[in-house]
C-alpha cells in the first residue's frame, strides 16, 4: 500500500471547517499520550479541565476573563495577517495600550470631568496601540523595512517601558515597594458584567462584528483583500498599497491597544507586572486557528482560554502541572499547520493488488 498526495482541482469547502476541528481532536489525542506516559487517565483529566473551564459560573467567568485579551489581540493580528503583514507585535501594542490607559486613569482624573476619564483611557489605549503598530507599518510601507523584526523589537520596548514606569516614576508610594502603580480612581474602572468578566469582552464582540463587516461588505475591505492576495494586481487596479497597509495596521494596533487598556481598567485596575504574559503571542495561534476570520477568532480565543483555565484547575484538583493546558495549546498548532495542506491537496491510498478501476476518489 502506498500513499500519494495529489493536488485537488478545487478547494474543498468542507476541509475549511474540518481541518481546525480535526486539529483540535488530534491535539487531544497527542496530549492523552503524554498524559498516559505520566500515568494519569486522560479522559478524567480532560473532564476535569472542561469542568474547570466551564463547570461553574466562577469557572466560566475566569475563562471569559482570560479569553477577552486573546480575542482583541487575535483580531488585531488577524487583520494584519490578512494583508500578509507579519505583525508579531500584538504583545507590545497591547502593553502600550495598557500604559496609555493607565496614564490617563492615573493622572487625568483630576483634570477632566469624571465621566470622561474611562472613555479617554480606552481611546488613549487605542491610539497608543495604533502608534505602536503604525511605526513598523510606515517603516515597512515607505522604506521597505522588514515588519516582523520591527514589530518584535517594539514588544521589548513596550514591555520594558511598562516595568520602568511601575518600578520607577509611576510606582505607588504607598504600595510597600510592590511593583505597580496606585489603584485607579473608581471612575476609571471598566464596568464588570458578572464575576470578573468586564466590558472588554463586549468590545471584542463588537470589534469582531465590525471587522467582519469591513472585510466582507465594504469597498475598503475589498481593497485590503486584493492587497493581501496579490500586491501586483492591487497596484495595477489603482489601489494605494502603502496607505492601505498603514491604515489597516493602525486599526490592528488600535484593537490590541484597546485590549491592553481594557485589561488594566477592567481587571487589575492598576498598571503592574502581569500585564505582559504573552497574550500577544498566543494571539498569533488564535488568528491562524481562526483562519483569520474575525468571528472565528472569538470562539478560538475562548477555547484557548479554556485550555489555560482548565489547566490551572487540574493542577488544583488532580495535582497535575498547570502546563498541561499550555502543552495542549502548543499541540493544536502542529496538526493545524499540517492539516491546512489538505484544503488544497488530498491523500490517495494506492493498493497495488487491486486494479485501479476499483478505486473511488474520496472527494466531496
Amino acid at each position: 500500500m502506498r500513499m500519494v498526495i495529489e493536488k485537488r482541482k478545487s478547494v474543498s469547502r468542507k476541509a475549511i471547517y474540518i481541518v481546525p476541528i480535526a486539529s483540535f481532536v488530534s491535539a487531544l489525542i497527542l496530549g492523552s499520550i503524554l498524559l498516559l506516559i505520566t500515568g494519569v487517565n486522560p479522559i478524567t483529566t480532560y473532564a476535569a479541565m472542561i469542568k474547570g473551564a466551564f463547570g461553574s459560573m466562577h469557572a466560566l467567568s475566569e475563562t471569559l476573563v482570560k479569553a477577552t485579551p486573546l480575542m482583541l489581540t487575535g483580531l488585531g493580528v488577524a487583520i494584519a495577517f490578512r494583508m500578509r503583514f507579519w505583525n508579531i507585535g500584538a504583545e507590545g501594542q497591547f502593553v502600550f495600550g495598557g500604559i496609555a490607559g493607565a496614564g490617563i486613569a492615573l493622572f487625568f482624573s483630576e483634570i477632566i470631568p469624571s465621566w470622561l476619564v474611562l472613555p479617554m483611557a480606552l481611546v488613549g489605549g487605542m491610539l497608543a496601540g495604533a502608534l505602536w503598530a503604525g511605526i513598523p507599518a510606515a517603516l515597512n510601507a515607505y522604506l521597505g523595512i522588514n515588519e516582523s523584526l520591527t514589530t518584535l523589537m517594539l514588544n521589548y520596548v513596550a514591555v520594558l517601558f511598562a516595568s520602568y514606569l511601575y518600578y520607577g516614576p509611576w510606582r505607588d508610594p504607598l504600595g510597600f515597594g510592590f511593583p505597580g502603580t496606585a489603584r485607579f480612581p473608581e471612575e476609571a474602572w471598566l464596568p464588570r458584567i458578572f464575576g470578573r468578566v468586564h466590558f472588554g469582552m463586549i468590545f471584542a464582540l463588537i470589534a469582531a462584528l465590525i471587522l467582519w463587516f469591513i472585510l466582507n461588505r465594504t469597498r475598503w475591505g475589498f481593497e485590503l483583500k486584493v492587497i493581501g492576495e496579490n500586491k501586483t494586481t492591487a497596484k495595477y487596479l489603482g489601489i494605494k498599497i502603502s496607505k492601505n497597509i498603514v491604515v489597516a495596521l493602525l486599526l490592528s494596533g488600535a484593537i490590541s491597544g484597546l485590549g491592553g487598556a481594557s485589561e488594566v481598567t477592567g481587571i487589575s485596575r492598576r498598571l503592574q507586572a502581569g500585564l505582559a504574559v504573552g497574550h500577544g503571542y498566543t494571539a498569533i495561534i488564535v488568528a491562524w486557528l481562526a483562519q483569520l476570520n474575525p468571528i472565528a477568532v472569538i470562539f478560538v480565543a475562548i477555547m484557548m482560554a479554556a485550555l489555560l483555565v482548565g489547566g490551572d484547575q487540574v493542577q488544583i484538583t488532580m495535582g497535575l502541572p498547570a502546563a498541561v493546558g499550555l502543552v495542549l495549546q502548543g499541540l493544536i498548532l502542529f496538526p493545524m499547520l499540517a492539516g491546512s495542506l489538505f484544503t488544497e491537496y488530498r491523500l490517495k491510498i494506492i493498493r497495488p493488488d487491486t486494479p485501479p478501476s476499483k478505486e473511488r476518489e474520496s472527494e466531496a
Partner: protein, 522 residues
C-alpha cells in the same frame, strides 16, 4: 524511418481520469514507437497535461493500463517513471539559478555518492552535450544562461539520467525561431539514436515540422492518431476544435473617430534606470486598433506601463481625450477611461485565490451599482458576475469558484470581461492571445474587434504578426524604445516589418526602395 516497422516502446490503453466535475481523460489510447517523435496536439484543457502527468507519476489514472516495452507497469511516483526511463521537460524549468549546470543535472539523483566527483560528471555532461548537440558549459551557473540554454540543461538532465522516452511540454513556447530550429536538430539526433519523444503542443505548424506521427486530443478524448506526412494543418485544426478554424474574424471597414490618446515625445526609463522609451510619439483614435509590433523587450512593457500609470515618463506628455494626463497614477488613468489587459495574467491580471465574481468586480467595485457609499452590494455583484460570465462565455461551475482553478483561456476571458466592461476610452491589450488555444484566440480577437466597432480605441501590443495584420488598422514597429515606422495593415509586408523590427526605420526602407527604383530606371 518507418515507425510501423519499429518496436512499440510505450503504450497507454484506455486511460481515464476524473477530477471533481471534470473528465480530464476518457479512454485514451496512446502508442509510442521506438525512435519517433509523437506530437500530442490539443487545445488548452484538452487533457494533454493530465495524460502526461499520469505518465510521469504525478497523477494516477482512475482506469486504464500503461505498458512500457511490453510490460504492464504501475507508475505511482515520479521516481517510478524515472526508473522506466521516462523524463519530462516542463514548461517552467525546474532549475536552481545559483547552482551550476552540472550541479543542477545531478541534483537529487539517489545514486550519487556522498561526495560526487564533479569533474567526472562534467566530462560526462560534455560528452553527452556533444553527442546530442546540446551545447552548454557544465560549469556555467544557470542564472547566466539564456532561456534556450536552460531548456538544453533540462533535456541533458533527462538524458544524463538515462531517459529513453522524453516528454516535452510546449518546448518552443519560450524559444526564439533560431532556438526552435536547434531543438529540432537535437530531437533528430536523439531519435536517430533510438530515443523517443512526446511533443506536447497546440500549434499545428510545429506538429508538421517536429513529428512523425500526431495524436489529437479533444475534450479529454483521443480524436485521431495520424501520420504527419499524411495530414495537413487544416485537418489537424479541424480535429482539434471539431470545426474549421481559419479564424473567422469580422472586421468591418470603418473610419476611425477622434483621438482617444496622444503620446507626445515620451521618454521613460526601465527598472534598471536605462532608457526604455525615447522620444516616442503616437496617436490612437476611437474605433481603431493600433498595433505595436516588435521583438519583446524593446520597450513594449514600459509603453504599456506609462499609458496605464504604472510608470512615470521622464519626459513628454500624455493627452487623453485632449486632457493632459501626464504623470497620473494607475487610478487616475483608470478614471480617464483606460483599461489594461496585462501580459502577466496570473501575476498581475487576477488574484488567483479570490473567486470569479471578486475578480470581475475589481474595476467596477468603486462605483454604483456594485457599491454605494463605501459599502459593496453582494447581490448586485453576483448578478453582475453572472451577466459577464454569460456574455463572455466563461466556463466555470459557479461565480464563487476561485479563479486559479480555471483554464488559461477562461482566466483570460475573465480579465477581458472585466476590462472591456469597464472601458470607455482606450483598451491596452498586451499579448492578449499568447498561449491560448485556437478557440480562445478567436474569441479574444473577435472581442477586440467588437470593441473597435463600438468606438473604443485599442492599443494592441503583440508579437504575433498574423494577429496584427488580421485585426489591426495601423501597425507601428518598435525597436529599442523608438517607433521605426507606422504602416497601414493592408500595406503590411512581413519582410519590411522584419527589417523594422531589426532596427531599420521606415524612411530608410522607402528611400532605399525609391533609390533602387530610380537607379533601375537609369
Amino acid at each position: 524511418m518507418n515507425p510501423q516497422s519499429s518496436k512499440i516502446i510505450l503504450e497507454m490503453r484506455g486511460i481515464t481520469k476524473h477530477f471533481p466535475g471534470v473528465i480530464a481523460n476518457s479512454g485514451v489510447d496512446l502508442t509510442l514507437f521506438d525512435g519517433e517523435v509523437l506530437a500530442l496536439l490539443g487545445e488548452n484543457g484538452a487533457g494533454k497535461s493530465t495524460l502526461m502527468n499520469i505518465l510521469i507519476g504525478l497523477y494516477r489514472q482512475d482506469d486504464g493500463e500503461i505498458y512500457v516495452r511490453g510490460e504492464p507497469v504501475q507508475i505511482n511516483f515520479p521516481s517510478d517513471a524515472a526508473e522506466l526511463g521516462i523524463g519530462m521537460v516542463h514548461q517552467n524549468f525546474m532549475l536552481i539559478p545559483r547552482m551550476t549546470v552540472a550541479e543542477n543535472i545531478v541534483l537529487g539523483m539517489t545514486s550519487l555518492p556522498f561526495v560526487p566527483d564533479m569533474r567526472k560528471i562534467s566530462n560526462r555532461i560534455r560528452a553527452l552535450s556533444e553527442q546530442y548537440r546540446l551545447k552548454v558549459d557544465p560549469n556555467a551557473y544557470v542564472w547566466q544562461l539564456t532561456v534556450g540554454e536552460q531548456q538544453r540543461v533540462e533535456i541533458l538532465k533527462m538524458v544524463y539520467r538515462g531517459a529513453e522516452i522524453l516528454i516535452l511540454d510546449e518546448p518552443t513556447a519560450v524559444l526564439t525561431p533560431q532556438e526552435s530550429l536547434e531543438l529540432h536538430d537535437v530531437l533528430k539526433v536523439m531519435t536517430s539514436e533510438g530515443k523517443s519523444a512526446i511533443f506536447i503542443t497546440h500549434k499545428m505548424d510545429e506538429v508538421m515540422v517536429f513529428s512523425e506521427r500526431v495524436a489529437v486530443l479533444q475534450n479529454g478524448k483521443l480524436k485521431a492518431t495520424l501520420k504527419t506526412s499524411e495530414t495537413t494543418p487544416q485537418e489537424l485544426a479541424r480535429l482539434m476544435v471539431g470545426r474549421n478554424v481559419l479564424f473567422r474574424l469580422e472586421k468591418e471597414m470603418q473610419e476611425p473617430g477622434e483621438t482617444v490618446i496622444e503620446l507626445c515625445h515620451i521618454s521613460a526609463k526601465d527598472d534598471k534606470g536605462l532608457s526604455a522609451l525615447e522620444d516616442l510619439s503616437m496617436v490612437v483614435r476611437a474605433g481603431e486598433i493600433f498595433g505595436i509590433a516588435g521583438v519583446a523587450g524593446n520597450g513594449q512593457d514600459q509603453l504599456a506601463e506609462v499609458i496605464t500609470g504604472l510608470r512615470k515618463p521622464t519626459e513628454g506628455k500624455i493627452l487623453i481625450a485632449d486632457r493632459d494626463c501626464t504623470g497620473k497614477d494607475p487610478l487616475g488613468m483608470i478614471k480617464a477611461g483606460i483599461s489594461f489587459i496585462p501580459a502577466d495574467r496570473i501575476g498581475m491580471g487576477i488574484a488567483g485565490n479570490m473567486d470569479i465574481s471578486e475578480n470581475l468586480i475589481m474595476k467596477g467595485y468603486r462605483d454604483e451599482p456594485l457599491s454605494s457609499k463605501g459599502f459593496i452590494r453582494p447581490n448586485r455583484i453576483i448578478d453582475f458576475a453572472k451577466r459577464l460570465i454569460d456574455s463572455f462565455r466563461i466556463a466555470t461551475p459557479t461565480p464563487k469558484t476561485r479563479v486559479k482553478f480555471l483554464s488559461g483561456g477562461n482566466i483570460q476571458k475573465t480579465i477581458l470581461a472585466r476590462e472591456i466592461d469597464a472601458c470607455n476610452n482606450l483598451l491596452v491589450a498586451m499579448y492578449p492571445s499568447r498561449g491560448l488555444d485556437v478557440g480562445a484566440t478567436e474569441t479574444v480577437r473577435n472581442l477586440l474587434l467588437e470593441q473597435r466597432s463600438k468606438g473604443i480605441g485599442i492599443l494592441l501590443i503583440s508579437e504575433d504578426l498574423d494577429e496584427l495584420t488580421s485585426i489591426a488598422d495601423r501597425i507601428a514597429v518598435m525597436f529599442e524604445g523608438k517607433i521605426m515606422g507606422t504602416i497601414k495593415s493592408e500595406d503590411a509586408d512581413i519582410e519590411m516589418m522584419g527589417l523594422m523590427m531589426a532596427g531599420i526605420p521606415l524612411e530608410e526602407l522607402t528611400n532605399d526602395v525609391f533609390e533602387k527604383s530610380e537607379s533601375s530606371t537609369e
